[in-house]
Symmetry: D3
Subunit: 61 residues, 6 copies
């Protein structure tokens, strides 16, 4: 605990994901004093045609 | 805000998904006066062997 | 199926939620030919201090 | 209702998933008296590079 | 891992929830050989007016 | 996009949550070059009797 889910569009490199997980964990340790080993992070990628704002999908913009 | 997640079985066409996102956004604007640009919709598709009701997966029915 | 989760800020009336559930279900029946009885909708409300965009919570804006 | 989401690393066999759905449904029927047909289970698989604990992804361990 | 989220209507006793968590964990250990200590379960309760099937909320049935 | 959900036990102060949202947004901007205004963060708090690891709830430990 905490359990963090990050939903984002496809396209980031593995290096970016690696760095993101490290930095987000650090942010939680620093601000809510979470124990690092207790932080679970799940990345969920979305294709552009599965993500919409304002009724229009990223693939249709 | 609001953030809507729609989990559904694989198999719909891109046109259906496009129409769905439009109509669901309209429904939220009409009923809870959400601002269209503030409505986020995420579509998450499932294969039949990852969705079950009554202890039986769609792939086993 | 589909299973829809709608996360939104607290503050809507019960009538608004009732209408929202009806209209979103209609939207799914109309656009992806879901069977009405198969549509599950879950509403999840958030207080303003639990929702943020751009690093700032709605309660801090 | 209930709606159960099981997020797990890729790699289980279809037989394991089939058994898991049965046993989890049984567990809910037995302990919270859920009606079997009302139990919805969604399996969501993650690749190793999308799951992290302690700031380190399973793919980097 | 796995991370299990159980969304259910309010109203179960604490004893039922305790038993549910035990039995669901057992089910995962038995069927997908998860390590018990690696199984995370999150219970999320819903009021009747936040859960709908067929366009009608449990509170309106 | 990205949409981040942080599930954590109840008990943090409002100041901690404020700082957490800022730092997590910074982490995403820095590592995956997300635009700050595009980052959505949702905090979801759990009581101890709704969070379990190893088949035992935090409230029963």
């Amino acid at each position: 605990m905490p359990v963090v889910t990050i939903k984002m569009l496809e396209g980031r490199t593995d290096e970016q994901k690696k760095a993101m997980v490290e930095k987000v964990t650090e942010a939680l340790v620093e601000t809510i004093q979470a124990k690092p080993e207790a932080v679970t992070i799940i990345i969920e990628e979305m294709p552009k045609n599965h993500y919409a704002t304002g009724g229009v999908r990223a693939s249709d913009k």
